[in-house]
């Protein structure tokens, strides 16, 4: 698996997009820090960007890589390598290279600004952890969509739709449901509804850590009341891990029946 991972990783590192992505985060980090002039404020702004953008980039990269490396994959399939090894290797290759762009791109400006002297280092660390989780989750989801659709355009469309749903529509539908059913007790419902969306979950995870009640929103407040800060952090991190495991498991399952 390491060989496949290595080749996928090199392949991506060689393509311009990894650098564009890296440069984007680098620029974003610098601009935010020098405009806000305050690490804590920069982290909150960054949170809002990371939570929408990393899933989008992960989705697009995942789908694009899957369809573009069709030939490479077929070449590998004729070699004495297990199917799941090939795809998990590729999956890790993309996820790791994206995560590297994120961590280095944001890490460099924050380090230069004096992150180690600030108390915000743990908040920032958590932000990177959440961003990395989102990368791994959405690349896996994108692979799922691509595996189920032979047609490239269709696969791309569904993947973007999935991102749009989780990033925007889900929240809207959730809010509407809260308004419509506001005569009922909604604590547990909203708690579970959050767990089913990795983007919402990441937002709460960071906000719990930052402890900004004003930004927590309804679900965040429920979350905090229900779990407390530390246990809440633990539970949401655990659910994030499940969000990685389940799509990867489905990739493996789907592969067993797939024709190439």
């Amino acid at each position: 698996m390491f060989k496949i991972l290595k080749y996928s990783f090199y392949d991506l590192m060689r393509s311009r997009w990894s650098y564009v992505y890296f440069a984007f985060y680098l620029a974003l980090g610098f601009v935010l820090l020098f405009l806000n002039n305050d690490i804590n404020k920069a982290i909150i702004t960054l949170l809002n960007i990371i939570i929408v953008l990393t899933p989008l980039i992960g989705t697009i990269f995942g789908v694009m890589y899957f369809y573009n490396s069709k030939e490479f994959t077929e070449l590998l399939l004729a070699q004495p390598i297990k199917r799941s090894t090939i795809f998990i290797g590729q999956y890790l290759g993309i996820s790791i290279s994206l995560t590297l762009s994120l961590v280095l791109g944001l890490g460099i400006p924050f380090l230069m600004y004096g992150l180690f002297k600030s108390s915000a280092i743990f908040d920032f660390g958590l932000l990177l952890v959440v961003g990395s989780f989102l990368n791994f989750i959405f690349v896996a989801l994108a692979f799922n969509v691509a595996l189920s659709n032979v047609n490239k355009i269709k696969g791309f469309g569904y993947a973007i739709l999935m991102w749009l749903f989780l990033a925007v529509i889900y929240d809207g539908a959730f809010l509407i449901s809260l308004i419509v059913f506001n005569e009922y007790p909604l604590d547990k419902y909203s708690l579970f509804a959050t767990m089913f969306n990795p983007i919402d979950l990441s937002r709460i995870l960071i906000l719990l850590k930052l402890d900004i009640s004003a930004l927590l929103g309804y679900t965040g407040a429920v979350f905090k009341k229900f779990f407390g800060t530390n246990f809440g952090l633990f539970v949401s991190l655990f659910v994030m891990v499940l969000w990685v495991i389940f799509p990867v498991w489905r990739i493996n399952r789907k592969l067993r029946k797939k024709d190439f």
């Binding site: 060989k3 080749y7 392949d11 060689r14 393509s15 490396s69 069709k70 030939e71 490479f72 077929e74 070449l75 590998l76 399939l77 004729a78 070699q79 004495p80 390598i81 297990k82 199917r83 067993r256 029946k257 797939k258 024709d259 190439f260």
Partner: protein
């Protein structure tokens, strides 16, 4: 060597292989022929495990190969269309494939044979179709395996490369290898193949030597004999 039992494969509603039985003995060159869409590539890909059959069994050396992968170390496969990752150079691709197989590779002689030295550092995306096919041939023939599967090996090759290819095939045959070839170039088939397997409607329609086929169809050349087989079915 290869024993295929009651193989079924459907793509959606399209039935491609319909209870195919085939036995191929060790050693010799077998041409798998049939009209377009008769299931040649599906059959080959089933043997390689790239296509998962709906029913039936494939055995290589008395061992079922379905859901397995280690056996592929004993197969060299030349895919139909030489599509490679465009970002890699020829050298990198060759070393990558060598790296992925736990086997000794003999690539230098083959690179020389097909005069690929000037292309070694070029990106695969910039190569012509014929040159890509030569790279494809190097990747296929550089390992020493019992079974060699060639899907349309002549595509895009110039006459010199074609002569080299025929020599390579004969050399492997003399070592006692089993070689499966699909091709639509009948003169090529007639020249290299010892036995013919003719696929039609997802089943084996004819299996035997070229001489038998000509006798059975009352034709003097292979091209007409095959055309005769296809036409008979359509009447």
């Amino acid at each position: 060597m290869i024993k295929i039992n009651n193989l079924h494969k459907k793509f959606g509603k399209l039935v491609v292989l319909d209870g195919l039985d085939l036995e191929i003995n060790s050693g010799g060159i077998f041409a798998i022929l049939g009209p377009n869409g008769s299931g040649k590539t599906t059959l080959i890909k089933s043997i390689l495990g790239m296509v998962i059959p709906n029913a039936g069994d494939i055995k290589i050396n008395e061992q079922s190969v379905l859901k397995k992968w280690e056996y592929r170390n004993q197969i060299n496969y030349l895919p139909q269309i030489a599509n490679f990752p465009v970002n890699l150079s020829v050298k990198e691709l060759i070393s990558m494939v060598k790296n992925l197989r736990p086997k000794k590779a003999n690539d230098t002689d083959l690179i020389k044979l097909f005069s690929l030295e000037p292309f070694l550092d070029k990106k695969l995306g910039n190569l012509s179709g014929g040159t890509k096919q030569k790279v494809n041939l190097v990747l296929t023939f550089m390992f020493d395996s019992e079974l060699i599967i060639l899907d349309e090996p002549t595509t895009g090759l110039d006459p010199i490369a074609l002569i080299h290819l025929k020599e390579l095939i004969q050399k492997e045959k003399s070592k006692g290898k089993t070689i499966l070839i699909t091709s639509h170039i009948m003169s090529f088939v007639e020249e290299v193949a010892g036995e013919i397997v003719f696929l039609l409607d997802g089943e084996i329609y004819f299996k035997g030597s070229i001489v038998d086929l000509k006798k059975q169809t009352n034709q003097v050349d292979l091209e007409h004999a095959i055309a005769n087989l296809i036409a008979k079915e359509n009447v």
